[in-house]
């Protein structure tokens, strides 16, 4: 199969990822942080190695890496943990449902949610955000890269603005982590949320929220409460990172896979991966754009590895089914980002998304285009 759905989850993984997950399953089977026997400590060591690897890639501190099963939990943890009744928060139309839905929940509980334009005319996004800030603005959410087209928001410009005002930056790096240089160090009060299983090549079941030094753990209300392996007689969750936000058993094999994935990404180099994926995307756009009945959305967008297109006279689902029949995996529909689709003006059933990863080749891009041509 030609796998072009890396924006959903990356596949295949580097061999070390499979090996490390299996090794930890077989050799480190204790519950990390819950016992002091050798197997529990071995599992705890794997958890900490994962934190170290993530922290190193994003210039953070290991103890501020909160491990989660995916980016959705990380984003819920950040949004629902940091926002309170009466707060004002800004988000954009690029936001995925893993941001929009928790914000919807929060709006029902008295948080004011407002949308800033992702593509304002004649001025910068940061300038527009600056005008929208209120005295009670607590956070600004930034989607560093869209999950349906290769565009992103100017993270560091927005961070500079938020830093001056002490506003928290909640960063959805689901499509950016591992595919672009990212650092939590100079973002001010910030949290970077990301899955482990996309651009970082860990297994599904891995993700994290990385908090900057400027955020006190007591500011973050736990999303979940339960066992933490620490201070068991306290009625509430501990007042320190990361245990405050990690109730329950951590997934040590997934953490090991994430660590191995991060190491593989570092070995190749984030910039090199970004470069390779960009070349594949440009090639796909160049060929698809030449087909009369194919519409490529934002063909000049150059930040990322995603191509979004539609074939006139064919529904997205039809195109996806045809491609699957040719052994090509893509994702069709609204991609859990309905507002982004509305902004782009895609058809009612959505569009077709091909997303490249570090293992894809130009030959696979050509195969995709040939298969699309059969319908176009």
């Amino acid at each position: 199969m030609i796998y072009l759905d890396n924006a959903a989850t990356s596949f295949p993984k580097p061999e070390t990822v499979y090996r490390e997950a299996e090794r930890v399953m077989r050799e480190c089977g204790g519950n990390p942080g819950r016992g002091s026997h050798d197997l529990a400590l071995a599992a705890a060591e794997e958890i900490y190695r994962c934190r170290e690897a993530v922290a190193e890639l994003f210039d953070g501190d290991p103890e501020r890496v909160v491990l989660t099963p995916n980016a959705t939990v990380a984003l819920n943890l950040a949004l629902k943990g940091l926002l309170r009744l009466g707060d004002h928060v800004l988000t954009s139309a690029l936001a995925h449902n893993s941001v929009r839905r928790p914000l919807h929940d929060l709006a029902e509980m008295g948080v004011a949610v407002e949308e800033y334009p992702a593509f304002p005319r004649g001025e910068s996004v940061a300038a527009v955000i600056g005008r929208m800030l209120r005295p009670n603005t607590r956070a600004v959410e930034v989607t560093v890269r869209s999950n349906i087209v290769s565009v992103g928001l100017p993270l560091y410009e927005i961070a500079a603005l938020c830093k001056r005002r002490g506003i928290i930056l909640i960063v959805d790096a689901s499509q950016g982590a591992g595919a672009m240089p990212l650092s939590v160090r100079n973002l001010g009060r910030a949290v970077i949320c990301a899955p482990g299983h996309k651009g970082l090549y860990g297994l599904p079941g891995s993700g994290f929220a990385l908090f900057s030094k400027e955020i006190d753990p007591k500011e973050v209300r736990p999303l979940l409460s339960g066992g933490s392996g620490l201070r068991s007689t306290d009625p509430g969750m501990p007042d320190l990172f990361p245990e405050r936000l990690e109730a329950g058993t951590l997934n040590a094999p997934a953490a090991a896979s994430l660590r191995a994935g991060v190491e593989a990404v570092r070995q190749i180099g984030v910039s090199e991966i970004e470069h390779r994926e960009r070349l594949l995307r440009r090639r796909a756009v160049a060929i698809l754009s030449g087909m009369r009945r194919v519409q490529v959305y934002l063909p000049n967008a150059d930040e990322g590895s995603i191509v979004l297109f539609a074939v006139h006279g064919r529904s997205a689902a039809e195109v996806g089914e045809h491609l699957n029949g040719r052994g090509i995996a893509v994702r069709t529909g609204l991609h859990c980002a309905p507002e982004a689709h509305r902004l782009l003006g895609t058809p009612e059933g959505g569009a077709v998304r091909a997303s490249f990863g570090m293992f894809n080749t130009e030959a696979e891009v050509i195969a995709l285009c040939r298969a699309v041509k059969e319908l176009a």
């Binding site: 990390p32 942080g33 002091s36 400590l41 705890a44 060591e45 900490y48 934190r51 170290e52 290991p62 103890e63 392996g229 620490l230 201070r231 068991s232 007689t233 306290d234 501990p238 007042d239 320190l240 990172f241 990361p242 245990e243």
Partner: protein, 97 residues
């Protein structure tokens, strides 16, 4: 646990073998807590390393819970006083208050 792992790493990077261990009940005020276990012989150096690294910890104690005194450590050990070979460091916030 995470802070204890961090302290362990700092010591290991500076050549001091360390392991994470559960603190004895009398050293915790709220149940489960973790510490870093090292050889007594390295206690003074470990203290310096952790302080220079900015690593915040609660107490440094011997395995039976006796606070480590660096005055005593200057002299040769006498039977019955320093019979326990391990010293524990409890990271701040980890429950060892």
């Amino acid at each position: 646990m995470t802070l204890a792992m961090k302290g362990k790493r700092i010591l290991e990077h500076n050549g001091i073998a360390a392991s994470v261990s559960r603190l004895p009940p009398k050293l915790t005020s709220a149940g489960c807590a973790w510490g870093i276990s090292i050889d007594c012989a390295h206690a003074r150096r470990a203290k310096e390393i952790l302080e220079v690294s900015g690593f915040s910890y609660g107490k440094m104690v011997t395995a039976d819970g006796t606070p480590v005194s660096f005055e005593k450590a200057k002299h040769a050990p006498t039977p019955g006083v320093t019979g326990t070979p391990r010293t524990s460091v409890s990271p701040k916030g980890g429950g060892g208050r």
